[in-house]
Assembly symmetry: C2
Homo-oligomer: 368 residues x 2
Amino acid sequence: MGVSLKDVAQRAGVSIKTVSNVVNNYPHVTPQMRAKVQRAIDELGYRPNLTARHLRKGRTGIIAFAVPELGNPYFAELAGAVIDAAAQHDYTVLVDHTAGLRERELLVCQEFRSHVIDGLILSPIHLENGDLLARQETSPLVLLGEREYDAPYDQIAIDNVAAARSAVRHLLDLGRRRIAFLGSRTGRERQPAHLRLRGWREELTAAGVEPDDRLVVATDGYGRGDGADAMAALLDRGVRPDAVFAYNDLIALGALRTLTERGLRVPEDIAVVGFDDIEESRYGAISLTTVAPDKRAIARQAVDRLVARLAGEPVTEPRRIRPGYQLVVRESTGGSHTVAGPPAAATEATPVAATEAAPATAPPVDAP
Amino acid sequence: MGVSLKDVAQRAGVSIKTVSNVVNNYPHVTPQMRAKVQRAIDELGYRPNLTARHLRKGRTGIIAFAVPELGNPYFAELAGAVIDAAAQHDYTVLVDHTAGLRERELLVCQEFRSHVIDGLILSPIHLENGDLLARQETSPLVLLGEREYDAPYDQIAIDNVAAARSAVRHLLDLGRRRIAFLGSRTGRERQPAHLRLRGWREELTAAGVEPDDRLVVATDGYGRGDGADAMAALLDRGVRPDAVFAYNDLIALGALRTLTERGLRVPEDIAVVGFDDIEESRYGAISLTTVAPDKRAIARQAVDRLVARLAGEPVTEPRRIRPGYQLVVRESTGGSHTVAGPPAAATEATPVAATEAAPATAPPVDAP
DNA sequence: GTGAAAGCGCTAACAC
DNA sequence: GTGTTAGCGCTTTCAC
């Protein structure tokens, strides 16, 4: 094994405690003693065994962040933000991905590295409410994403219905009436996309447009290929929308590709809106109009909530936090292009809608 | 604190050892004993404390994977592959990002979570050779990426010079002669892109074309915005290339965007080749020709090397492993589009070049 | 097949 | 200010 405190103490001719004091930067150590110990540390190449420290302290300073798929830029960008936010609190992040499988989601929130991770931030897809209620593990858990649960855990998610409505409203304002929805799910007991789909339905109805279910296309996954296929299927079916609202940017980008291949003009023939504002949406030949959740805020708040629970805040009442979002209008719906500038500062955006944590900005406002 | 082995033992009226045997699925336990203990475990909701186990065993089963930026899809995709490869060996991955800062790279390979991570896979950018030689930490380290070091650590990287040459050769074969390179670095002591830049230079020279340094554009970073800016700067400078070879796909995609904005046709006016084969390169309005490193192989081999070292294989001689790569020809150089199919199986690709670990495939072959 | 006891390396009381 | 000591929860000889 490696060099331990005892070895250093022996070498320096002092007690273990003194070495420990030096290692932990205890204030009350005489400079000469500190120097002596430090020399022994350097000579022996001592590195503290954090595992032992963790065992002793009962906590590790490691939190886990589990997402469906790291290959989805939205989650990759979010993971980066979580890592940064956690670092601010001196926490290290263990990133895992579940492939959106319920089994792996269960595993991660039940018995994943028990006592090694202090807490978990999970973005579930197929986890059921009962799974959460049956959770044995006592470490704090914060939930992210579209699914809403009735369980004693903090949940962070933008208002998906309102956000979806703002996207559809934008398309209606452009005079579009046959607005397709890409990315509902096939043959699942639960419909992960249901909130955004509901927003689509509600906003159409509110505008006096009858939602046409033939314009709703289910996909197998959430990737670019699924979007491309869905768009192709819709067109092959002979259904011709004048606008598309996609569950996420990847699906929208895939649809965009199909439209280009088929020689359809965007936005003239068909306008397209996505959801997520991943960076690549700003750089395509046709930049993508999209709903931009405030990822930094989501990450920061998720970490803040987790850290608060870790610090002992009781779960009297689980909190639901709604970070802000923006509708960023770009070329795919006729907006001008904004290649520069961070997503949150895009010029052609409707104001942020946020509750609780975001410093009160303007309430949601209609797109021009 | 939580429930410990002792508590379970007490409850079941057996010794600690017996409970431990049950928990670890020891073969020689009578069924009735196992059942009795299991009942106590369930009743008390016991979860093993992995931290204690780690301390006792001297290893944790956690490895770290540190990349410059998780927001770069190449690294995100690679991270996903590493997580999967590690899972095969029952290792959990702690993903971290260094922002490409030497300081953070040092931190991660020196004193990062000592004794908590069994080993580290690091993709450095600014780490110097001396930093590696001065490394105190004794846990295994595997290096990834373009930088080549003279240090006692395994290194996994495709043959960047040859890969770059194949990209440039492809452009030369198309009759292009004024081939720009986007993505060299400004004012750094080291030139991270130097291998690909060297490939560019060598292949041009070999073809009897004088490399023109006015066609080399430095960028501040490796993102889409950097590529867009670099392309714009080149055109504004009045320099008109007939092809562009970019350091990576993001820079190429940014360049593509600028070209579209300026009304230049791709590939007719300017052909574009990238490097990385990130998924989005296949889905743009103009799909991108790119050098596709075999990410799965890179991840697998990195994990394999690390696991081998962890299993006690001595570092008699550090290995240099060269996974395969392909040149995937798509629309940005006049190829047909390949939206479907995994990157490694793309039809219009030059054969794989790989050494050592990849099951001997065909040797490097010229592009047609 | 099961039990008793030692110790992994560290921290935190508590003495001195 | 510094030293002594008792565990944190687990695995692992070694008896029985």
